[in-house]
C-alpha cells in the first residue's frame, strides 16, 4: 500500500510539473544515449573482442586482459604517468595561478590587470592541434625559435623529440601556459570576494603589501584553494588526451614518459584494433576514478557543504 501511495504521489507531481519535466527531457535523452547506453559495453574488457563479431559473439576470456596489463607492467606505467602528470599540473598550476592573481590584485592599474588577464586567458581557447604546432615552432631541432636562441648564444640544442626525459618538463610547461589564465580568473574572483574593509583596516594599522598578502589574502584564499585541490584530486586518473596526443602522437620513443591512460586506450583501439585491452584499461580507470571522486566529494562536504557535488 505504502509503495503504491508513493507512486501515486509521484505521478500526481509529475502531472503537475509536466512542462518542466518536458523541458528537461531533451537533455535526459542526450545523456541516456551518449553516456548511459555505452555502459554495458564495458563488458568488452572481459572479451577477446572482434569488431566484426560484435559484443555478443566475441569469445569470453574473463580477467585475462587485466592479467596481461598488470603482469606486463603496462598498467603500472600508465598509472604512474597519469598520476604524476596530474600531481605536477595541480601543484605547479595552482601555485602559479594563486601567486599571479594575488600579485595582479595588488596592482594599481585596472587596465594593466585586465589586459594581462585576457591575454593570458587566450591560450585556453586554442585547440590542442594548434598547441602542438606552437610547441613544434619553439623547440623543433632544425628551425625552432628556442633552438635558434640557444644556438645564437653559443649553446648546443638537444634533439627534444627523441629525448623522453625532457617531456615531463615540456608538457607541464605547456599545460601551465594553457591553464594559467583560467585559474587566475578563478582565484581573482575569490580575492574580490574578500571584504575590502578588512584590507583597509590592515592598511590603517600600517601593514605593508607583503604583510597583507601573507596575513589576509593567502589565509582567505585557503578555502577556495582546498576545494579546487580536492576537485582536481578527484580527477587524478583522468588525463588531457588532446594535449598528450597532439604533442607526442605516435612517437613511440617518448612513450615511457608520456603515455597516459587516454592515449594508450586510443592507440590500442584505433592503431592496433585491440579493443579489449583498451577497454580493460578504461574500466579500471572508471571504477577506481569513481572511488577517488566520491572520497574527495565527501571531504568537500565535510569542509564546505555548499560546494559538494551532491
Amino acid at each position: 500500500m505504502e509503495a503504491r501511495a508513493k507512486i501515486a504521489w509521484h505521478v500526481k507531481k509529475a502531472a503537475k510539473y509536466k512542462t518542466l519535466l518536458l523541458m528537461c527531457l531533451p537533455a535526459i535523452i542526450f545523456f541516456i544515449f551518449m553516456s548511459y547506453v555505452p555502459l554495458p559495453g564495458m563488458w568488452v574488457a572481459f572479451l577477446r573482442f572482434d569488431y566484426n563479431k560484435g559484443l555478443f559473439k566475441s569469445p569470453f576470456v574473463g580477467w585475462k586482459n587485466f592479467e596481461f596489463l598488470f603482469t606486463s607492467g603496462q598498467m603500472w606505467l600508465l598509472l604512474r604517468n597519469t598520476i604524476l602528470y596530474n600531481v605536477a599540473f595541480i601543484l605547479v598550476g595552482n601555485v602559479v595561478q594563486m601567486a599571479l592573481s594575488i600579485l595582479l590584485s595588488e596592482v594599481a592599474s585596472d587596465r594593466f590587470r585586465k589586459t594581462a588577464q585576457s591575454i593570458m586567458f587566450l591560450p585556453y581557447f586554442i585547440s590542442a592541434v594548434l598547441v602542438s604546432l606552437l610547441v613544434y615552432n619553439l623547440i623543433n631541432y632544425d628551425y625552432g625559435f628556442i633552438s635558434n636562441l640557444v644556438r645564437g648564444s653559443g649553446g648546443e640544442m638537444a634533439k627534444l623529440y627523441s629525448m623522453p626525459k625532457a617531456w615531463p618538463v615540456i608538457i607541464v610547461l605547456v599545460n601551465l601556459w594553457q591553464t594559467t589564465g583560467y585559474g587566475c580568473i578563478v582565484y581573482f574572483a575569490a580575492i574580490m570576494g574578500i571584504d575590502p574593509s578588512i584590507m583597509e583596516a590592515a592598511r590603517v594599522d600600517g601593514a605593508n603589501g607583503l604583510q597583507r598578502i601573507r596575513r589576509i589574502t593567502i589565509p582567505m584564499l585557503k578555502p577556495t584553494f582546498v576545494i579546487l585541490l580536492l576537485f582536481a584530486v578527484g580527477g587524478i586518473l583522468k588525463g588531457n588526451f588532446g594535449l598528450f596526443y597532439n604533442l607526442v602522437g605516435n612517437n613511440s620513443s617518448l612513450f615511457s614518459t608520456t603515455d597516459i591512460i587516454e592515449t594508450y586506450v586510443y592507440r590500442s583501439m584505433l592503431n592496433s584494433f585491440n579493443f579489449s585491452q583498451g577497454s580493460a584499461v578504461g574500466l579500471f580507470q572508471s571504477v577506481v576514478g569513481f572511488g577517488v571522486v566520491m572520497a574527495c566529494n565527501s571531504l568537500v562536504k565535510r569542509i564546505e557543504p555548499d560546494y559538494a557535488l551532491f
Partner: protein
C-alpha cells in the same frame, strides 16, 4: 609608527614592480607563439630553412597561401562544415542547456535533484572510449556521419550546472508573477527568463561554439578518409601529421612532392583555421570570464 597616512611603502612598490614585470612576461609568453606561426606563414620555405622560425618574417612571401587557395575546394569545404556545425550545434545545444538549467534551479520542481544527479553522474562514471566508440559505430551507425561530431558536443554537465547557477540570479518573483498572469512554465522561460539572461546565454553559447570550432577529436574517431570535407582543426591535424594530406591540399598544382613547402604550408593552414577565433576573442572574452567566475568551482 610615524606613518599615519595610508600611503605606499617600499614593499608596495616592489610588489608592483614585480607584478608589472611578471605580468608582461606572462602576456608576452602567450603572444609570441602566435606571432611565430603568423610570421612563418608569410615566410618562404627557404627563409625558414636558413633562419628558422622567427617572430618577424625574414622575407615576405604569400606562396603557401596562394598554394592553398589555388585549389580552394578543400579549405572552403572545411570552412562550410565547421561553420554549419558551429551554428547548428550552438543553437540546438544552447536551447537545451538553457531550458534544462532553468528547470533544474526552480525550487518548486520536485524532481530537480534526481535529474541533476542523473546528468552529473555521467561525468563521474563513464563507460570510457572503447564502449562509446562501439555504440556510436555499431548501434547508432554514425561512422562517416557529421552527426557523430554534432551530437556529442551539444552539451555537457558542466554547462548545465553553469546555466543553473546563472538562472539562480533571476529572482523567483519573476517566475511567480508569470504564474499569476496565467503563463505556463515554458512561456515563463521564453518570455520572462530568457530576456533577462542574455549575457549568460552568450557565455554558454560561446563555450559551446568554441567546442565546435576547435573540434578535431570526434572527427579523428569517426570520420574516415571517405569523408571529403573535414572540420578545420581536423584538417589542420591531418596537414600537420600526414604528408599525404599535404599532397591533397595542393593536388592538381604543379608542385611535386619533394618541393612542397611543408613548414610554411602547415603555418598557413593553422592561420586560416584558427584566425577567426583570435580575431573574435577580444570582443567576447568578457563573456568567458563571466562564465569561469560563476561556474568555476564545480567544474
Amino acid at each position: 609608527m610615524k606613518k599615519n597616512k595610508i600611503g605606499l611603502d617600499r614593499t608596495d612598490f616592489i610588489i608592483r614592480g614585480v607584478t608589472y614585470a611578471i605580468g608582461s612576461i606572462g602576456a608576452l609568453a602567450c603572444v609570441i607563439p602566435f606571432l611565430l606561426i603568423l610570421a612563418s606563414s608569410f615566410s618562404s620555405e627557404d627563409a625558414i630553412r636558413r633562419t628558422g622560425f622567427t617572430i618577424w618574417p625574414a622575407d615576405f612571401s604569400t606562396y603557401s597561401y596562394s598554394l592553398i587557395l589555388r585549389t580552394p575546394k578543400q579549405l572552403v569545404g572545411a570552412y562550410i562544415v565547421t561553420i554549419l556545425l558551429t551554428l547548428i550545434g550552438t543553437a540546438v545545444g544552447l536551447f537545451i542547456v538553457a531550458m534544462t538549467g532553468y528547470a533544474l534551479q526552480r525550487a518548486d520542481f520536485p524532481f530537480r535533484n534526481a535529474i541533476m544527479f542523473f546528468i552529473y553522474f555521467s561525468s563521474l562514471f563513464s563507460a570510457g572510449l572503447v564502449p562509446f566508440y562501439i555504440v556510436m559505430t555499431q548501434a547508432y551507425h554514425l561512422r562517416d556521419s557529421y552527426l557523430a561530431i554534432l551530437i556529442p558536443l551539444l552539451m555537457n554537465p558542466w554547462l548545465i550546472v553553469l546555466m543553473k547557477n546563472f538562472a539562480k540570479s533571476v529572482p523567483h518573483e519573476i517566475t511567480e508573477s508569470g504564474k499569476i498572469d496565467g503563463a505556463g512554465d515554458f512561456a515563463i522561460f521564453t518570455r520572462l527568463i530568457v530576456p533577462m539572461l542574455t549575457p549568460a546565454l552568450a557565455t554558454i553559447g560561446l563555450f559551446i561554439a568554441i567546442g565546435y570550432w576547435n573540434e578535431w577529436y570526434y572527427s579523428s574517431l569517426f570520420l574516415t578518409s571517405n569523408v571529403e570535407y573535414r572540420p578545420l582543426q581536423y584538417q589542420l591535424y591531418r596537414v600537420i601529421n600526414q604528408i599525404a594530406a599535404l599532397r591533397n591540399t595542393v593536388a592538381g598544382s604543379v608542385v611535386t612532392i619533394t618541393n612542397i613547402p611543408a613548414e610554411t604550408l602547415k603555418m598557413a593552414t593553422a592561420v586560416l583555421a584558427t584566425g577567426p577565433i583570435i580575431l573574435f576573442y577580444p570582443f567576447v572574452q568578457k563573456y568567458f570570464v563571466a562564465g569561469v567566475t560563476v561556474g568555476a568551482v564545480k567544474g
